[in-house]
């Protein structure tokens, strides 16, 4: 039985060996083919995509191919026919390898040339030749292997059956031998039994020590031989298993190929949904081109599209990719196709038999035309939608443009009378913007209340009758409440399954005239507002009115008894753009009712345009307004003149007697006309003091008047402010002593100042005089002059009664007198501080005060020091 098993096992091993050789040949041939295919696809992928990852399989294939070739030759040794095929295969694949090396160099240097070469299919033909050889080799091997495998399967099955039976028989046999050989053999047998047990457990590597009695030794040898055979058989089974695994791998490859196909279908689906989800031509066009170009692996491309508005014009260039649009024909005509596109793939994009466009693809790599055509069909549908949208938009734009350029306003309402369309003319006419008007009930928005029912009846009737246009006049309200008369031309229109009513609206009331009248009035008001008081305002009014009303010539006539026609041309305005002869029609605007008024304006019109009531009213009121303004200006000028004369009078009539009084007093006091007794001198001094006071008062009044009239003039020169201050303080000393007030001067040298010394002296004098007046005997008045940043600062501080806070603001007002002054019967008329302020302002300075009732007051005058002095 062992012999049978052993022979079977041998037989099986031989068959298995042959099968293994055959497998080896098939797999090495397949591997070679796989490497060749890698070479082809890797480089093609790189050329199309410029993606470096495609080069990895290519690089690997170049390195691995020689090894695979060697393996193939080794595997086919022993079979002359297969060796011959293998040699041919090696030659072809080596040639292809060399060609691919060149191709790769070319691809890295000049991708376009490489793509062109790939497009010729030269590489593919070589790959196909290799594929054919491999196919031949594998087919032969498969035939041989099938026979071997069937044989081996049979042998193996029998050997396994026998071996199993044998294994089961061994324990029985052993039991019999044990029984026969008793104790001499018991130990070796025990070992044998243990080994058999282990074999039973699957350990085929176990061997028994072949020692002991000869039968036992024989038995051990046999056992060992059997175990070795079994081990071999198992090895072969494992080989068989591996083969099955290889088949499984093949199945897996098929599955992954199916997955790849599914991915392709998915990609196609994605592309198509991308097309259909985009309806804007601007975005769809580049999308179509890029997707189709990618799918075809084309070097470049162009998209021609039908004109959405005029499809009969044919296809024109819309979009390009990597191609210069300038080199392409603008229109796609048969001639253009012939002359320009010999290297291009032309995919027509047609939907329902109508040409929507065409895609041109330069040097496409893919030859999967059916997929490309399917994508093109989907593209055509998307393009057709986009073109329809574009065309609809264009139509809507035209409609809107027509409505917006029409003279009349256009308003549409739905069946419920809500406004659905509102053109800019409607906004201009009624004052409501589009967003304000839309959605409102048209009759409530625009019509006076008692006209709404009438309109509603018209509306209902129109909807019932259907197609008909009606024209009617109706009063309407502007947004600002103004009433106007409009003419409306309405017609119903069915849009989809709902009705709307379209209306053209025109203002037939005096709206334009009203507007003109208002503009004229506005222009005159603006001219008056802008006019400088001292200038003649008439020319501006003539120009404003002439321009606004487009009357090119205007004249202001003034009454003149000496002239032939009793008037003279005072002012004339002519539109600079007007060159022409006498104009036939003029409009007169009288400027007052009486004969001694301000004459009249006369405007000449270009054409005979009747003056409507609104404008006539406006012109009438403009005439009155201008007369009023001129009268007011005349009165003002007169008042100004009177004031000036009054000042001249006061100054002359008051000063001349004062001059005499003081002059003669001086004469007497100087004893020019004889000796003066002491008591006489005392009384004369009283007269002189009061005459001087009167003189100062007159001076102050004149000064204030000058400030009022804006004619204050300062006699400015470079001066030393410190000495001005010290002199003024010195002059005030007698008064201070008389009042029992201590007068202190604390000054420092100051930079030269540009000012009027008399006026600045007056400032110090006024402040010091005030301070002495309001400081009780025993108090103190301190005058300081110092420099503080860019200013010279004079301050006068007293220890007097102080000034309540509510009076401080009013103190600098003209003729304002503090309550303490009136209560205490302090002399003065309330001009001193207003003069101080006027002089400070006249020097670009400022005056301020700080006071606490009961503890005293400080007046501060700040005068700017000229820049050149500041930096000195």
């Amino acid at each position: 039985m062992f012999a049978v098993v052993l022979s079977l096992v041998h037989d099986a091993r031989d068959a298995s060996d042959r099968l293994q050789v055959s497998n080896e040949r098939t797999s090495t041939a397949d591997r070679t083919l796989a490497l060749v295919v890698n070479l082809e696809t890797g480089l093609r992928g790189y050329v199309v995509s410029q993606d470096e990852t495609f080069l990895q399989p290519h690089t690997h294939a170049i390195a691995a191919l020689p090894g695979a070739q060697r393996d193939l030759l080794a595997a086919t040794a022993g079979d002359p026919r297969q060796t011959a095929t293998a040699r041919e295969l090696v030659d072809k694949s080596s040639a292809y390898l060399a060609w691919q090396r060149d191709q790769r160099t070319l691809a890295e240097r000049d991708p376009e040339a490489a793509a062109e070469l790939i497009a010729t299919g030269a590489g593919k033909r070589q790959v196909d030749a290799v594929r054919a050889l491999v196919g031949e080799l594998v087919r032969r091997e498969t035939q041989d292997a099938r026979a071997e495998r069937e044989h081996l399967d049979g042998v193996t099955a029998r050997a396994i059956t026998l071996a199993t039976l044998g294994l089961l028989g061994i324990p029985l046999l052993l039991a019999a031998v044990v029984y026969a050989s008793a104790t001499r053999v018991s130990h070796p047998l025990q070992r044998l039994a243990r080994a058999a047990h282990r074999v039973e457990e699957g350990d085929l590597e176990v061997r028994v020590q072949a020692a002991g009695a000869s039968e036992i030794a024989e038995l051990g040898h046999s056992f060992n031989a059997m175990a070795a055979s079994l081990a071999q058989a198992r090895e072969e089974l494992e080989v068989h298993n591996e083969e099955l695994e290889a088949q499984g791998a093949e199945l897996e490859a098929t599955v992954s190929e199916l997955e790849l196909e599914q991915a392709r279908i998915q990609t196609f689906h994605d592309v198509v949904s991308a097309f259909t989800s985009e309806v804007e031509l601007d975005r769809l066009a580049p999308l179509l081109l890029s997707k189709l170009r990618a799918a075809a692996g084309a070097r470049g491309g162009a998209l021609y599209v039908a004109d959405p508005v005029a499809p009969e014009r044919g296809l024109s260039l819309r979009e390009t990719a990597t191609l210069d649009p300038a080199t392409l024909p603008g229109r796609l005509t048969p001639e253009a196709v012939e002359t320009h596109f010999d290297r291009h793939l032309l995919l027509p994009l047609a939907s329902s038999g109508r040409p929507m466009g065409a895609v041109l693809l330069l040097d496409p790599i893919s030859n999967d035309f059916s997929t490309l055509q399917r994508m093109a069909d989907a593209a055509a549908v998307a393009l057709s939608n986009a073109l329809a949208l574009e065309s609809a938009r264009h139509a809507a734009d035209i409609n809107r443009a027509v409505l917006e350029t029409a003279h009349d306003a256009f308003v549409a309402v739905d069946a419920d009378r809500r406004i659905t369309a509102w053109t800019p003319q409607a906004e201009a006419l009624f004052g409501y913007s589009e967003w304000e008007a839309r959605g409102q009930l048209v009759d409530e928005l625009l019509l006076p209340e008692r006209w709404r029912a009438t309109y509603r009846a018209q509306h209902e009737e129109l909807l019932e009758v259907g197609m008909e246009t009606r024209r009617f006049e109706v009063p309407a309200l502007h947004r600002d409440g103004r009433r106007m008369t409009i003419e409306v031309s309405v017609s119903p229109l069915k849009v989809g399954d709902t009705w709307q009513v379209n209306g053209f609206v025109r203002d037939i009331g005096g709206r334009v005239a009203h507007e003109r009248a208002r503009e004229a009035q506005r222009a005159v008001s603006q001219a008056l507002a802008k006019a400088v008081p001292s200038e003649d305002v008439v020319p501006q009014i003539l120009e404003a009115l002439g321009r606004t009303l487009r009357w090119p010539v205007a004249v202001h006539w003034l009454p003149d008894p000496l002239a032939d026609d009793g008037r003279r041309r005072a002012t004339e305005w002519r539109d600079p753009g007007f060159e022409g002869d006498e104009l036939p029609v003029s409009v007169k605007i009288p400027l007052s009712d009486g004969p001694a008024g301000f004459g009249a304006f006369e405007f000449w019109q270009r054409r005979r345009v009747p003056i409507d009531a609104d404008l006539a009213d406006a012109l009438d009121s403009i005439g009155k307004l201008v007369a009023e303004v001129l009268e007011r200006r005349r009165a003002q000028a007169e008042a100004e003149q009177l004031k000036n004369e009054f000042f001249a009078l006061v100054s002359h009539e008051l000063r001349t007697p004062l001059t005499s009084i003081i002059g003669y007093l001086e004469l007497i006091l100087e004893e020019e006309v004889g000796a003066v007794a002491e008591d006489q001198r005392q009384f004369l001094n009283v007269i002189e003091r009061n005459a001087r006071r009167l003189q100062r008062l007159v001076g102050d009044l004149l000064f204030v008047a000058q400030v009022e009239a804006g004619t204050l003039s300062l006699d400015r020169r470079e001066l030393n402010l410190e000495s001005v201050v010290l002199d003024a303080v010195q002059a005030a000393r007698p008064r201070a002593e008389k009042a029992g007030v201590e007068l202190v001067a604390e000054t420092e040298p100051l930079p030269a100042l540009d000012g009027d010394p008399d006026r600045l002296s007056q400032v110090v004098d006024n402040l010091v005089t005030n301070a002495i007046k309001f400081t009780p005997a025993g108090g103190r008045v301190t005058v300081r002059a110092r420099r503080q940043s860019g200013s010279a600062v004079i301050s006068v501080t007293d220890t007097g009664i102080g000034i309540p806070e509510d009076e401080q603001d009013r103190l600098f007002e003209r003729f304002y007198r503090a309550r303490s002054a009136t209560d205490g019967e302090v002399q003065g008329i309330g001009l001193g501080l207003s003069i101080v302020r006027a002089i400070a302002h006249g020097h670009g300075g400022e005056v301020s005060l700080e006071s606490r009732p009961g503890s005293g007051t400080t007046f501060t005058v700040e005068l700017p020091i000229p820049i050149h002095e500041v930096t000195r």
Partner: protein, 130 residues
């Protein structure tokens, strides 16, 4: 023009001031010719060629500006220095005076002392020029 450089013409319509000024100038050693209005002033100036004229601006008939202008316009009287007396205070009045050809001006009320010193100053300038 007189050989004695101490003849002064004073013109003012206010008799009091005319007297006052005359008195002062006479006391100072000048020969004073007086005029009550512009016309008279012009006549005296043409006849006596004073060394200096002190003219009030506001006089009835011919005012001070006008008298000055006429003096300047006549070659015989063009050289007579003129001091204007003005009660006006505005700058425009002063510049009008200088435009008319006045050499100096005094604001009213003025101190007769000051007038005397101005007269002396102008006459001193004249004689030094000469």
């Amino acid at each position: 023009m007189s050989d004695d450089p101490r003849t002064v013409l004073v013109a003012d319509d206010d008799e009091d001031i005319l007297q006052l000024v005359s008195f002062r100038l006479e006391r100072a050693g000048y020969t004073v010719l007086t005029a009550g209005d512009g016309q008279q002033a012009l006549a005296i100036a043409r006849e006596h060629h004073p060394d200096l004229a002190v003219l009030d601006v506001m006089m009835p008939g011919l005012n001070g500006y006008e008298v000055t202008r006429q003096l300047r316009a006549d070659a015989a009287t063009a050289q007579i220095p003129v001091i204007l007396l003005t009660a006006r205070v505005q700058e425009a009045d002063v510049s009008r005076g200088f435009e008319a050809g006045a050499d100096d001006y005094l604001r009213k009320p003025f101190s007769p002392q000051e007038l005397r010193s101005r007269v002396q100053a102008i006459l001193a300038r004249r004689s030094s020029v000469r």
